[in-house]
Amino acid sequence: MRPNGWWTTAFWCCKTMQWIAGTGLVLFAIIQPMDESLKNLSIVGELIAALRPFSRPAVVAFGAGVVLFKYLAHLIGPPWVWAAIHAIFDEVRERAFKYKDGEPVHHHRVTLFEHVHFWRIWRLWLCFWQWKVGRFPWSGWLVPSARSGHTTKSCSTWFLAPDDADRAEGVVGQAWATNSQILVDKLPEVSESSSSTVIAEYATRTFVSQDWVKDRLGKPLPRSLCGVPIEVEGRIWGVLVLDSRAEDGIKSQKVTDLVDFVGIVLRHLLRRAK
């Protein structure tokens, strides 16, 4: 998930380093053509003369630094964008779900998944023993980027979304593959005591494998899901997912209205974050 303190710090570190590298680049670019005779002028002249021999490699190094830190800051995205997205998701959560009296808000969630390629899922690179045929880090994945609320932020569930769209997993994967808004509700309640028939039904209706469901039997699974593709500059950037632990927790008509609003805002915000 993006909008947390670590990412904000990392973004500002990158921006600071980019500024330092940019200043160094300009200074050494000025020093490089200067004459040796400057040495006689003052202490500054002596300093410049001493630095001159290193000016060529320094220009290259600082130039590379500017590019590198700019790229890293671009990958992380400006923190204000993610803070704004988070605030919008909290508002959507208030309006898009049917709440019962006393029900905790984290039973209903709004999550933004980003479609990424190999290098972004560093955990999958490290856990190379989990690689399988067609499930490599470079296969194409939908990974969570932002989520409503202040809990369940350490989500590490990602879904396969490869070029061969038939193999896309989850409701999120189907929304991405078909480029359509998909709503699945009235899913069966799955627990550790559930029969294999119930597990199979849940897996089929949510487009995941039975093993995927079995691995999560100890945790509460959503009983209604809605996936909406999100576009930036005409390309599918990712998928917005609304999930609820209630079997009819999503107000489908309300979602259609909200999606119009969120779709416009995300399109503009994510363009800034790109």
């Binding site: 359509s180 998909i182 709503l183 509700d185 089929t204 209706r205 909406v228 390309r235 399109r267 503009h268």
Partner: protein, 151 residues
């Protein structure tokens, strides 16, 4: 160009029950594929009568480059390079003879969109052209009135 004519997005994007990989789901078109408004008029830069669609979150101009389809024909379609969404329809009013037959124009546009929807797209999505057609059905006569008035 005329002012934008608003379209009823909810009416055009009705939920459908579909079976995907053996599972029953409710499907809506992507909110980005349903046009918000349409307008028509003579484009001063090309001199052609142009029907323009406005989509969710886009200003007057689309936020992606446009590619032309069937550029030599009387009906030129301009689609988004990334999304393949139909943004503009340009009509050669002289060869279509619009001052005589309104129906002929709408039929020519419909055929051009039909050709476009049959072509292979990525990502696959035929519904987006059906909804564009629906927009033309909804506002077609207003646009043709503009066309006949403008020629």
């Amino acid at each position: 160009m005329s002012t934008w004519l608003r379209l009823n997005r909810h009416k055009m994007n009705r939920p459908l029950r579909r079976r995907i990989k053996g599972a029953e789901v409710t499907v809506f078109l992507s909110p980005y594929d349903v046009p918000e408004a349409v307008r028509g008029g003579v484009d001063m830069s090309t001199g052609r009568f142009t029907i323009q669609f406005k989509y969710l979150g886009c200003s007057e101009d689309p936020d992606e480059p446009l590619d032309a389809e069937a550029e030599d024909g009387p009906v030129v379609l301009r689609v988004g390079r990334n999304s393949h969404r139909l943004y503009r329809i340009e009509l050669d009013t002289e060869s279509l003879g619009v001052d005589r037959v309104e129906i002929r124009v709408l039929k020519a546009v419909d055929d051009a969109i039909d050709d476009l929807s049959k072509r292979r797209q990525r990502p696959p999505n035929r519904g987006r052209y059906d909804v564009t057609r629906q927009a033309l059905v909804e506002r077609g006569h207003d646009l043709v009135r503009e066309l006949v008035g403008g020629v």
